[in-house]
Amino acid sequence: MGVRFDQVSKRFGDVVALADFSLDVDDGEFMVLLGPSGCGKTTALRILAGLEEPSSGDVYIDDRDVTAMAAHDRDIAMVFQNYALYPHMSVYDNIAFGLRMRHIPRREIDRLVRDAADLLGLSELLKRKPGQLSGGQRQRVALGRAIVRRPKVFLMDEPLSNLDAKLRAQTRIELIRLHRQLQTTVLYVTHDQVEAMTMGRRIAVLERGLLQQVGSPQDIYERPANLFVAEFIGSPAMSFFRGTPRDTGDGGLAVDCPSISFTLSPAQAAVARRASGAEVVVGVRPEHIEPAEAYGERAAAATFDAQVDVVEMLGNEIHATLLIDSRGVIARLPSDELVRQGASQRFVVAPEHLLFFDPATGRRLE
């Protein structure tokens, strides 16, 4: 057992930062807490670190209740967003500090610090001060300070957000490799879904202090629990169409939305019928919208005419903003696809991956 949050809540005055948060993290698991800013993910991390006291609920590390334990007794290490390196200490002393505080013999400290520096490629920089390092190097020192103690849990609070895009991608891979090597439980906080999808074995999505869904990256992408998760995960975002189901007479079901109508398969119809009210929300990922001319003879879930408003070229693919009436819907197309900016064209929605949500509760229907 790695880490467990048991109905943890945290209030700051009238603001509820975290409400009834329960989460089990397995030993050695890489768990990502994902959500927009102010969703409570950092609060959860800080409560586990012992930097913040929960208003109610308990926190366990290795099945031990640590709720009342001071931060320095919890055997965790944390990487802060701005690294929080001690500016007056050399890289060596920064990494060694946690060991010194634990009264580890000097020779042992030296060995551990040099091992960690080797692992992170910091051996040449041990005498430097943080002020003389680049952003990426500082980030590695912060990591070194965390791994050198071999803690039970690593806590990382948006550790890559201060790096440029290229370095971030590189460090992401290094982190994945590091985790595979160390096999230590990691709780990783981020608002970046790419980081979450690529690094997390599981992702916990939070919003407004509430846990929305916990699952593998694939789970979260393909079976989002509700409208928030569906919209938040995936870039460009999923498009939603709200409409009224209508029986087509032959046992099938159609969903009529303004200027677009979806024809559902029998299995999908059964799902869509579970909506509590008269309406249902249909979710379509951008990769499931295609130009009609390239689509071929297969049955489509919907066909619609739209004006191609903006075409964004990304090299390997293009994102086209299509105007259906005056509403923008984004389609993700292979770059060789023929869409002409400004033209009115016919598009289809592939039937297989439609998602259905109950507009009253926001939950996905299944």
Binding site: H72, A77, A84, Y86, H88, M89, F97, G98, M101, L155
Partner: protein, 303 residues
């Protein structure tokens, strides 16, 4: 003309233009400095080379005689010792007390603003007012200090008239006067330390004392250097409280250099000798400040 020479000429012209544009901004303060600092300084050095009659007139060139007298006189050495002791009391006292008070009011608590104001309020009281106030407090007969000590079972002392206590009492008064500024400056320094450093230290296993030692003190070192340099300079130029409380006595036990200069110049009318003393004092303070800065490079960390 070669291209290099042309470039040089152009640079010189631009420098001249910039200097011309800057001069109206510099002149007012330069004028004040000249009248009240540079001229008196040069004049003091010059006076130090001249003996004066008891009315402060008739200047006779005596070369370095007076400087030699100052450096060899046991009175001056005594004054130097007293000044050093006074500086030690006041710098250590006001820096440590200021640090302690600043740490006390650093945390965010309801009503903390009141205490911040109280602790820094002495910065707003003049030397004369503070001295008169402490003169009362230290009074052996009706003073509060002896009354409180008496309640605690401690003997009453003749604070300002006992050579054993006078310098300590004046030092205590000065610490009280300086601690307001020290508290304000150190509090500002404390509030500049990023909170994450403490959090990081906590996660790293540092308890309160180690956080203070490894986070607070290093981050505060430039501030503490500033407070102690200013404290030393204050100590060397303290005059008002000594004039009001002890007049250099008893038995010269509080006769710091500035006070002895004052006595030499305005009671004995020996302006030449006083000037020589002043110049020596100037050089001493300059050296001491330099030493402080150099020594500080070892342990002061500027971010």
């Amino acid at each position: 003309m070669t291209a290099a020479a042309q470039a040089r000429a152009r640079r010189r012209r631009r420098w001249l233009q910039q200097s011309l544009a800057a001069s109206p901004f510099v002149l007012p303060s330069l004028a004040l400095f000249c009248v009240f600092v540079f001229y008196p300084l040069v004049r003091s050095v010059w006076l130090g080379f001249h003996a004066t009659d008891p009315f402060g007139r008739r200047e006779v060139w005596v070369g370095i005689d007076q400087y030699r007298d100052v450096l060899t006189s046991s009175d001056f050495r005594h004054s130097l010792l007293v000044t050093g002791q006074f500086a030690l009391y006041t710098v250590v006292g006001s820096t440590c007390l200021g640090l302690y008070l600043a740490l006390l009011v650093h945390r965010r608590l309801p009503g903390i603003l009141f205490f911040r104001t109280v602790f820094s309020s002495t910065v707003a009281s003049s030397v004369a007012v503070s001295s008169v106030m402490w003169f009362r407090l230290l009074n052996p007969g009706v003073g509060v200090l002896n009354y409180v000590l008496g309640k605690g079972g401690l003997p009453a002392e003749e604070w300002l008239t006992d050579p054993k206590w006078a310098l300590f009492a004046v030092g205590m008064t000065t610490v009280w006067m300086n601690v307001g500024l020290a508290t304000i400056v150190i509090l500002a320094g404390l509030q500049n330390i990023p909170e994450e450093l403490y959090e990081s230290a906590r996660v790293d296993g540092a308890r309160a004392w180690n956080q203070f030692l490894h986070v607070t003190l290093p981050a505060l070192s430039p501030t503490l250097l500033f407070v102690s340099v200013v404290g030393v300079i204050f100590a060397f130029e303290s005059f008002g409280q000594i004039d009001i409380l002890t007049k250099g006595g008893p038995l010269d036990s509080t006769n710091v250099i500035v006070y002895s200069i004052y006595r030499e110049a305005f009671l004995h009318y020996n302006v030449g000798l006083a000037s020589a003393q002043a110049v020596v004092l100037f050089v001493l303070v300059l050296l001491l400040t330099l030493v402080q800065f150099v020594a500080a490079q070892r342990w002061v960390f500027y971010r």
